[in-house]
Subunit: 198 residues, 2 copies
Amino acid sequence: MPAADFQQEDTRTLVLGAALRLFTEQGYFNTSVHDVGRTAGVSIGSIYHHFGDKEGLARTLYAALTARMQHLIEDVVRMEGSSHDQARELVVRLFAWAEAEPWEMAFLLYARHREFLPDEAPICSSRPFVMMREMISRGIARGEIRQMDVMVASASLFGGPIRMITTRLDGILPHPLPGYLDEVWDCAWRAVAAPRTT
Amino acid sequence: MPAADFQQEDTRTLVLGAALRLFTEQGYFNTSVHDVGRTAGVSIGSIYHHFGDKEGLARTLYAALTARMQHLIEDVVRMEGSSHDQARELVVRLFAWAEAEPWEMAFLLYARHREFLPDEAPICSSRPFVMMREMISRGIARGEIRQMDVMVASASLFGGPIRMITTRLDGILPHPLPGYLDEVWDCAWRAVAAPRTT
DNA sequence: GTAATTAGAACGAACGTTCGTTCTAATTTA
DNA sequence: TAAATTAGAACGAACGTTCGTTCTAATTAC
């Protein structure tokens, strides 16, 4: 791979990193393209060269992060094991991701993408959320989760963990997320678990 | 009350209603003051006369809605009865409010207020959320709720119901919220309830 | 008639975008 | 090997539009 390609990748990465941080920190509309360029140490022209326009930059960012989220869920679904173990592992990885890359998680959970990406579907009807509901459906079919509305079960199982993540991102949770994992998961699973038949 | 005040109140109400709808529907930064004026059937001058500037308009809206939310919670806390009954009644009223005034609920739950009201505290550390955590603490002290971290209990008890509300606001929940109440609350309470000692 | 209120044209700053230029490095030509 | 050519990447000043805000004349209310 020629050196030029490294340079190119590097500039794109620099710009995307700056955009992620600025968009998340101060919002898309409070961030000018000049801001992104200055923060990334890159000229405005380069940004337009690589991403077309400001919306293209946001779109690239959004696509990259939703893809990572989707891979995360696909990896979990591909695991062998009960629905319980899969769902728990999903929470484990979401907690780890939120600690490692809080800006990425905040961009996914907080940003009102419809406001600057008008033709995006609402995030709750995106693949990752659909796959979470499918995970629940399998759990019900296997008798691990009580018979109930899938929407209710999904909200009840993942609502607590996700709320813990947003609380942490808001900076009002004193300890890192993994420290709360057992207690959080205990509550979440109690909410939906079918009565033990063993 | 003189007629002039009616006129004034009426204009203010019209403007606030238009702003609520537009800010929530398309976002604060996608809504121009001209839009608000046209939608409300009121002149630009009037808006600046009443609210000072665009941020003042948003601030008035935000203050009015957080005040309503706070009163809602205070009413519930003032009720006699167990923590269980209080928390359930809170969910009942939140569901009813979300159905009756979806734009108000969406503005409170979705809008990233820090982006256009820079000096506001994060909403999760606002009075309403603090009061919800206090409700939990009392439940733990009374032995209704298991001994656990208050943040975890709060996220586990209210995370599911709140997620149901956002799902409904996003338009992917087929039925009105109250129809899900019993099932949702059953899950939520199982998550945190202390074992029965009777 | 006076004071308060409104309407909407006009202003100015901020911002997204464009464009002509320069730079770098690889490829071709002689 | 040296010079010439090409392609794409980066730059940043300049442009045109949008939008928050101001201002003044007209209108309303009593």
